[in-house]
Symmetry: D3
Subunit: 74 residues, 6 copies
């Protein structure tokens, strides 16, 4: 019964149902394999956060993505 | 001034305002009664999460609810 | 299967086992009663945090408790 | 690489992009200045929560704001 | 740069360094594989919580483990 | 009454009381200045996590610090 919380940016239309199922299933299996418990009880909660509300090194991901695009298009 | 964070699935149209008030009030009173503090300062934050983003034992709640419905309708 | 996380200050030797059991049980029953689910699956996690690491209005609880004591002893 | 999570109420149309950038940048700079690390790697995540889902002292912020308005308009 | 927070009970002397490295590495690789980002920036934070402070269905894990032992020893 | 949670690694003997007070006070003032609320009610909770339990890009901070030391000593 571990609780795993994933916070990630909402990008490109958001994570698909399939991606989220893969992630939850994969984390649960990984945990159960390493610790020998949690296989049927691990809780995984995925939260997608706007790139405006998520920053790294003081820059929002919105801003970081914009700078990446500019560099790519040069 | 404890901080209580509730993460729950968003189901059946979501928790009503009344349900959320009951929960916040109830948790605050319970805490204050047990620990003799927090009655006027406890913070309760309720987060409702899509059933696609919430999994138990590697299965999303969406999937679990679907399986429950099938069993019921047999 | 809601997940409830309680963050509270570690004071007066810390919450006792009995207090923590009361809190977890109480929150679980309250949730189940209001939402009609979670009775056997709600997860409650209690985290006790040093009063040095917990602040309200920019003042640590350590500092706030010290000021309260001074006022009481006048 | 500290992770800072800000939970705040969504009020008056929500925090603007500029306010959120200021907050993330400010917290990151403050952390880096005090601890001499994290300047390029601190993660700041801002979550805006409905005033219906956020309570202090057992009262939702929705309710608290309503009471404040009544008092002001007397 | 997703942030993954794992809350688990502290049992049997706690998770070993090797187990924690496996978990962090595994979750990071899984995320990167599914979403094609985060390989070098995902943050994984593991928190081990006393079984007294962790409850499922209103019962602490301490209590649940004790009941399991009794059943096994019958 | 925003709630700000800071998770950081416990390094070099841990953050001092003064550093933690500076951080809590600074974040609270910053928030109040930007949003014009929270000055007396913002909650800041600082959690220091073992470098064994904190990883970036699949490597624990313990490991990352060790590699940094090796590079410096060449």
């Amino acid at each position: 019964m571990p609780v795993i919380n994933v916070k990630m940016t909402h990008e490109d239309g958001g994570a698909t149902k399939e991606q989220k199922e893969k992630l939850s299933k994969g984390i649960t299996e990984l945990f159960a394999q390493i610790f020998n418990r949690g296989a049927s009880s691990a809780v995984v909660i995925i939260e997608e956060v706007s790139t405006d509300n998520y920053s790294v090194g003081g820059k929002s991901i919105t801003q970081i993505r914009n700078e990446e695009k500019k560099q790519t298009s040069i």
